[in-house]
């Protein structure tokens, strides 16, 4: 192919494969790969932390970890998985794919893009360096005040956390503005709002969520910094500060954050399922509207994390009603994915398996989430293992499964090589079984009265069996992840096949070589429908003839 040939020669000219070229790069694809790679390393670290916790909790009164160690590990596990894994993985896909999907040559601000990546990496490494300086952060990923005040958290761990969060917030803000401008400005001719691929839509909405919610987190964290370093009293209740101020500021960010974590994965799944069903996404408009609706509603439900803080009844009911409402657009999406598969021609490739896993598991995360919006029930199960089960069905069964779907799907585009399919299927089944073994019993433990974030528990409360089962499940997940790493290494050792369109794809990224040349497209494509490549392959059935 001419495009491919040009791409190859272009890259050879730059001699662009040395380490320096990666450090200096402003190419959105390379930055995307840097993001994905770094975030995956953090994923392995956060996963190891999870295994340590599961070993500690495998039996009652276990002495494997000290309370100090456990508290640092669970804090870093949550902080890592949220800020250093799922967000940057989504940013990695966004960077790599958004320009390709909208037919652009790069992001709107390539240098800003590089700045965003390096700020993220520095923030992550900085936070982890706290282990070398007297202890990591140890107050949980939502670090409630006044526990975080110097009086109660005297190590430097919280200072590292504060600074790290500021850097990561900055990185995300820069990246989000870049996405917003790119998506508004650089779409190929003909790609109107109703023809944007869904992953681009979710990245768009996610970026707005980040830009509008992060200032609240930044404020919360800056006030804490003032308290800790300059002796201010914003959260210091002994001096007239307010403990709940932190919670309001934090969750005003924290709830939209949940959608920042899940929407990109929903976008991925909305790209993968149609391709492997050989059908268009069912109800595109409904899915886009529900994404936007989730974006707005996401800002109105923050206090459902605070039902037990002693709120007046009216507020309780307001936030409860709002939280129920948010279930509706989520349901719309699940039905849309199933409608897409309905009477399709389903190919169970690894990306498709992970996408189906996403639908099956995310449904559970939605249903148990509804329980948490029912105020009187929430009073019983909030801050118990039930919540831990819920967030992992959403963020592991949801976000991580969606991301693995995306990795298998776009890996050939990024590297010119297909990952091994049978290893991929093993990977899927181990994760699927393992995650249900770990997280399903957590519902039961929450119901049985086990609070979250305890480094140990006594015997005789009926919690032994399920904790043990969960630990086994965690190791099954670990084996699955190890297979993925092996798959990656084995695949990268093979010669690339440079297949342009191995999955029979629909969207613009599959119209250029694998990997694409630095400038993506020799000629900027023009678009008449949501599935430009489908149109080219099936002119008689082209979408623009019958798209509603």
């Amino acid at each position: 192919m001419t495009i491919q040939a040009q791409g190859m020669s272009h890259r050879r000219e730059l001699g662009a494969n040395g380490l320096l070229s990666w450090i200096m790069t402003v190419d959105h694809k390379r930055i995307g790969i840097l993001y994905l790679f770094s975030a995956f390393i953090f994923f392995l670290v956060g996963g190891t932390e999870a295994l340590l916790m599961r070993i500690q909790l495998a039996q009652p009164d276990n002495k494997f970890l000290s309370p100090e160690a456990y508290n640092q590990i669970f804090t870093m596990h949550g902080t890592t998985m949220i800020f250093l894994v799922v967000m940057p993985l989504a940013a990695g896909f966004g960077n790599y794919l958004v320009p390709l999907m909208i037919g652009a040559r790069d992001m709107a601000f390539p240098k800003l893009n590089a700045l965003s990546y390096w700020t993220f990496l520095f923030g992550g490494v900085f936070m982890y360096s706290s282990f070398l300086f007297g202890g990591a952060p140890n107050d949980g990923w939502f670090s409630y005040a006044p526990l975080t005040e110097k009086l109660y958290s005297p190590t430097h761990g919280m200072d590292f956390w504060v600074m790290g969060i500021l850097m990561l917030g900055l990185a995300t803000t820069i990246g989000s503005i870049n996405f917003i401008v790119t998506i508004i400005q650089l779409r190929a001719p003909g790609m109107t709002l109703t023809k944007i691929p869904l992953f681009v839509w979710t990245t768009f909405v996610t970026s707005f969520l980040a830009v509008f919610s992060l200032p609240s987190l930044t404020t919360a964290v800056l006030l804490l910094l003032l308290d800790r370093q300059l002796g201010a009293h914003f959260y210091n209740t002994a001096e007239g500060g307010t403990a709940l101020l932190w919670q309001h500021l934090f969750w005003f960010f924290g709830h939209p954050e949940v959608y920042i974590l899940i929407l990109p994965a929903m976008g991925i799944v909305s790209m993968v399922i149609p391709v492997f069903s050989s059908k268009p996404l069912f109800g595109y408009a409904a899915v886009v509207f529900s994404t936007i609706a989730i974006g707005f509603l996401g800002f109105t439900v923050w206090a459902h994390h605070m039902f037990a803080t002693g709120m007046p009844t009216v507020s309780l009911l307001f936030f409860s009603a709002d939280s129920f409402l948010i279930g509706v657009p989520t349901g719309v999406k699940i039905f849309a994915w199933m409608g897409t598969m309905w009477k399709g021609k389903l190919r169970f490739t690894s990306p498709m398996l992970f996408a189906i896993g996403f639908v099956a598991l995310f449904l559970i995360g939605g249903l148990d989430g509804i329980h948490l919006a029912v105020v009187p029930v929430d009073w019983q199960i909030t801050d118990s293992y039930y919540v831990v089960a819920h967030i992992h069905y959403v963020l592991f069964g949801g976000a991580i499964f969606g991301i693995f779907s995306g990795i298998y799907y776009w890996f050939p585009k990024m590297t010119g090589r297909l990952l091994n399919e049978s290893l991929g299927k093993w990977h899927f089944w181990l994760l699927f079984i393992g995650m249900n073994l770990v997280f399903m019993p957590m519902h039961v433990l929450g119901i049985e009265g086990m609070p979250r974030r305890i480094y140990t528990y006594g015997p005789g409360r009926g919690w032994e069996l399920w904790n043990f089962v969960e630990t086994i499940g965690a190791f099954i997940i670990a084996v699955g992840i190890a297979l993925f790493v092996i798959n990656y290494i084995v695949t990268m050792l093979k010669a690339p096949t440079h297949e342009e369109d191995p999955w029979d794809g629909f969207t613009l990224e599959w119209t250029t070589s694998s990997p694409p040349p630095a400038y993506n497209f020799a000629e900027i494509p023009s678009v008449r429908s949501r599935r430009p490549l489908w149109d080219r392959k099936h002119p008689e059935l082209a979408d623009w003839r019958n798209e509603a």
Binding site: A308, T309, A336, F348, L367, R461, G462
Partner: protein, 329 residues
């Protein structure tokens, strides 16, 4: 493959019913009973949705998988207005039902304003133990809250340090114990018994060992308990006890009170006046007996690492202290 979750979940709940866990599904109060009933209804609704949706998904996956040599393209359907409206409206109806049930239960478990409270209690969260004050009765205890059967007990929650959360699943859901804020809740039970509770908000190093129990007594037992708590602490009789007493009212007094009416204490440790009227210590973690007390005084940090009692006592003094403490019935 998805159906096995349902089985697993059912099995798990069955199993959990066989073991004595502090679960609100075995309620001992009208509050938890309401909460448990609501939970069961929602669980059933969720299971129905779960089975229907996952069932439909499996059906689609099996029926519509690509068969060998099938090169025909499926029909390219983009949307179906009627269907989409249906699956938007049904969830909306469901959540309206859920919301109505939520409102009803919130009202049912709200403090009964027409009822006068029979007993006022102040719960004070300390890192990492619970102080229980009875302002009307002028007594204070730690980690084991006694209430009389059938009484309406008004509970005020305060913290001297960070946020804790008061949770006794079988009696009531959580209420956070927030410093600088006076949250209230209420307790009532018609079932005599002991109910396990635990701090449910991460409060630092020993959050895991900040447990407690609520003991629902018959009125008679409760009165007897109160009468005992109102007595002053035991006076030393022997020489050893006297030496121990000097320590407890000396070095230990920086953190512990021996005055049973020292409510809302400024001291960082629990009141010791009637230590041995309790069955557990150190945040409800260890059985209170001579042997455990001995190891506690030998090395508190080994038993509960990070707790705020960080002292060294000579073995001889330790024996004297114990000989006195054992009498604090």
């Amino acid at each position: 493959m998805f159906r096995k979750f349902g089985v697993l979940m059912g099995l798990a709940i069955l199993l959990s019913a066989c073991q004595p866990s502090p679960t609100f599904l075995e309620p001992a109060s009208s509050i938890s009973n309401h909460e448990a009933n609501l939970y069961r209804i929602i669980l059933i609704m969720a299971l129905v949705v779960f089975v229907l949706v996952e069932g439909a998904l499996i059906l689609i996956l099996v029926r519509d998988r690509k068969r060998a040599n099938n090169e025909k393209l499926p029909a390219q359907i983009h949307s179906n207005m009627r269907l989409e409206v249906t699956w938007t409206v049904i969830p909306i109806l469901l959540v309206i039902v859920l919301f109505i049930m939520t409102v009803q239960t919130v009202n049912a478990v709200a403090a009964p304003s027409h009822l006068k409270s029979d007993l006022n209690i102040r719960v004070v969260g300390h890192r990492w133990w619970w102080e229980f004050d009875y302002p009307d009765l002028g007594i204070v205890t730690a980690n084991e809250l006694h209430i009389p059967k059938g009484a309406t007990v008004q509970v005020q929650l305060e913290s001297v340090d960070v946020i804790h959360s008061f949770w006794v699943p079988q009696l009531s859901g959580k209420t956070d114990v927030v410093p600088g804020q006076h949250n209230t809740m209420w307790l009532t039970s018609d079932q005599v018994g002991e109910y396990l509770g635990q701090c449910a908000e991460f409060c630092g190093t020993e959050h895991a060992l900040m447990r407690f129990k609520v003991i629902v007594d018959s009125q008679q037992d409760f009165d007897a308990w109160v009468a005992n708590q109102q007595k002053p602490a035991y006076q030393p009789q022997t020489e050893d006890e006297q030496a121990g007493y000097m320590e407890v009212t000396g070095a230990c007094a920086a953190c512990h009170s021996l005055d049973p009416s020292d409510l809302n204490t400024k001291k960082v440790g629990p009141n010791l006046a009637h230590l041995f009227s309790r069955s557990t210590f150190a945040g409800g973690t260890f059985d209170l007996n001579e042997e455990n007390l001995r190891s506690w005084l030998a090395d508190t940090q080994a038993m509960k690492p990070g707790n705020d009692m960080d002292i060294k006592i000579l073995p001889k003094t330790r024996d004297q202290i114990i000989s006195y403490l054992l009498n604090l019935k």
